[in-house]
Symmetry: C2
């Protein structure tokens, strides 16, 4: 295998994104599956609105490229990636609700509850979560049921009470803590890192983990990939916080400057942008280094770490 | 086995309810499971508020008693029952939200969003759904992963887009359709039955189905149980609609008279109370009859059908 060019990398990223779009389009078809009664048109439309129409599909990319490290087939990895994407998508729909972050814009278009209504957004989010576990449990994802339950458990543990949902709870609790003089009370670094590890890091890390499960990776390989996944998750979050602090809404595709307005602590607000960028760079090094066990085969995931750190939207 | 007395029946129902309470208490403990990072206190408390403190635990009872038909162990059936109960519980939390049914009272106490806030209720519901699939995928539910994925798929298909969540969407769409003169526009019987089959019938039927999966029931036995489960689900809904039309809030534990106020079609509004009661009685006969293949072993499930039809809360 020759060295990976940036063009190769973007072609792979794009290839997975297109495959995920096609797969989700098929999963969100009007025909009910065995065991379902009927798929109500409005709910299905809302779910399609939330899930289709692009996006980088970073989480599926992580599942697919990790599985490819081990020569595992793309079909199962794409389905597992679609499941993670459903979890990610439902969390965005619910987080955007007026009762939560109250956002009107997402990827440059109205959020689901703005385009439909709050009730439909709640239900579409709920049904997307269900769909994620449906996809993983289905035989089409892997012939071995032991692999399917392992995938299910990895996704559940990273996305529920002790992961993504818990992180959103901590985030809401941390927001809007102000002194009597109206100054935000900053969280400390430890609690900010933990919150972010739960809210966004956990399902990025579990995307990598799911690729390793599909690839029947050895324990040593899993541990190397766990280090990679954690570093990548932190890098992703710092890059996100930098975008919020420094980006323009038109480029980023959603409102920016929200963290400061909400008195929300990030590594950018706690350390300053310059130190946060140094931290980000260190995390990319850590992520790349963790892949040494895979030699040149790890180049796509290495490039992914750089891509995540440098992204502008 | 001697004939089942009513006391025996209530002792079994109560025994399962107590076991489920203990199991949920343990599942909603502060210690994170492997793969989880931390369980935030407020979120955990809200989930406990929604799930603990009694209730008939009808769905777990159905899983457990169906599994017992085949001599399958209680431990796995109770866990599967707890998973269904988490799905049922999350749906109540979300349905009670102001954006949906806007209910203030549930089982005689404030609904979750009243006791906490809307954001916490949305997140607690989300995490309860995740927990349901976590429970099913965990080895403790059954040593055979093929059984665990089958349970997962049964619960996902009955509770998502094509089942429970879809039914709630149809229900919201059907509500509040009034003529220009302010008279409610009734749904027809077919669409009302389909809506109810999705919203409440599907997970009652899948509770029975999950017991059959745990019991490795034959195809003929599964079909008999599917007939039972469908009839039971319809009977449950008619009994519920009769309670709403004729019951007192103090006895029922939640507001009554809501269906009429919302212009919601039920078999009671479409057929009249007397005809609905006759239909209910026919469904109980159908449910009981479907169990003939099990002989006297089916007595607990038979009694369950009568209990569901006659309940007063």
């Amino acid at each position: 295998m020759n060295a990976l060019t940036q063009n190769d990398f973007f072609a792979r990223l794009d290839g997975t994104a297109r495959a995920i779009e096609t797969l989700l389009d098929g999963l969100l078809a009007p025909e009910p599956l065995p065991g379902e009664i009927e798929r109500p048109a409005r709910l299905l439309e809302a779910m399609r609105y939330a899930m289709l129409g692009g996006g980088k599909r970073l989480r599926p990319h992580l599942v697919v490229e990790t599985a490819r490290l081990f020569g595992a087939g793309d079909e199962g990895a794409l389905r597992a990636g679609a499941a993670v994407e459903c979890i990610h998508g439902y969390s965005l729909v619910h987080d955007d609700l007026p009762a939560m972050d109250d956002d009107a814009l997402r990827r440059g278009k109205p959020t689901l509850h703005k385009a439909y209504d709050d009730a439909t957004a709640i239900l579409a989010g709920d049904a997307l979560q269900t769909l994620a576990f449906d996809i993983l449990a289905d035989e089409a994802t892997h012939p071995d049921p032991a692999i399917r339950v392992e995938l299910t458990l990895a996704l559940a543990r990273s996305s529920g009470l002790g992961g993504m949902v818990g992180g959103q709870m901590l985030d809401l609790e941390a927001e809007g803590r102000f002194t009597p003089e109206g100054k935000p009370i900053p969280g400390d670094e430890t609690s900010t890192l933990r919150l972010q590890a739960m809210k966004t890091g956990a399902i990025l890390a579990s995307s990598v983990q799911m690729g390793a499960i599909l690839g029947r990776a050895s324990e040593a390989e899993r541990q190397a990939l766990a280090v990679y996944g954690r570093a990548l998750g932190q890098a992703f979050q710092i890059a996100d916080d930098l975008l919020d602090a420094e980006g323009e809404a038109a480029t980023v595709g959603k409102a920016t400057g929200k963290d400061a307005a909400r008195g929300k602590s990030t590594l950018v607000s706690l350390l300053g942008a310059s130190n946060a960028k140094a931290r980000l760079s260190g995390l990319v090094d850590e992520a790349e280094g963790a892949l040494s066990v895979f030699g040149q085969r790890g180049d796509v995931l290495r490039q992914t770490a750089r891509f995540v750190a440098e992204r502008r939207s």
